[in-house]
Symmetry: C2
Subunit: 134 residues, 2 copies
């Protein structure tokens, strides 16, 4: 299979597939003309990576997961630990975004949104903290 075939079948952009090769996640064979030739294993790895990426794993975590997948002697505890760590990171991000959302939605609701200059949003941003006020 050529690169556009695997791109279509994995849903990954062609550029991304080349990138994954560049960073050593996959190592497709090369045809005589220099074209990449993807095996079913390559295709499978790419699909695996794509799925992991869609769950928010970073590419280095994907590399680890792929290694674990390829290791018949792996311990599921290692996989679980990776996923657990990532899950905690997601929870942190959600909490941060929820915090922003709370403040922001409050401010948006308080803003008249008309042609007058008065604006609680700007007022909030401009309110200096004691330390900055000196």
């Amino acid at each position: 299979m050529n690169i556009s075939d695997v791109a279509e079948r994995t849903g990954l952009p062609v550029k991304t597939v080349r990138y994954y090769e560049e960073i050593g996640l996959i190592t497709p064979a090369r045809a005589a003309n220099g074209y990449r030739h993807f095996s079913d294993t390559d295709l499978h790895s790419l699909a695996f990576i794509g799925r992991a990426r869609s769950l928010g794993f970073g590419v280095e975590a994907c590399r680890s997961l792929l290694r674990l997948y390829d290791d018949p002697a792996r311990a599921s505890a290692d996989v679980r630990r990776l996923a657990q760590t990532h899950l905690e990171e997601i929870d942190r991000k959600i909490a941060e975004l929820e915090q922003m959302r709370a403040t922001l939605s409050h401010l948006v609701a308080a803003c008249a949104g008309n042609d007058r200059p008065d604006c609680p949003i700007l007022a909030d941003l401009a309110a200096m903290s004691p330390s900055a006020r000196g």
Copy 2:
């Protein structure tokens, strides 16, 4: 005030303050020796930016907000629109993370996390979609 003073008072790293000058968010004066000299206005702008950044606004949005803040003839509707757009972006991100979280926590819960190789997490990642199975 020198750069470390404003850094301390705004809570922003020195490097970040220099960066904000580089991209034109602030334009501090320079002393004869080349040192940046920050006015109260600069300090205030930096605090404003820091607060906006903490609400998740991108630096370009910060630039817009700062411009609006400096424009006495602004319409609060413009500010509100900016904040509303950002709020929607936050909601999109939260939804995406919640989706990841749901799948991931399900998988983590299903994984024994012992020294055996069987792992539902890897099984999920390895499950090929029909399009890829082709």
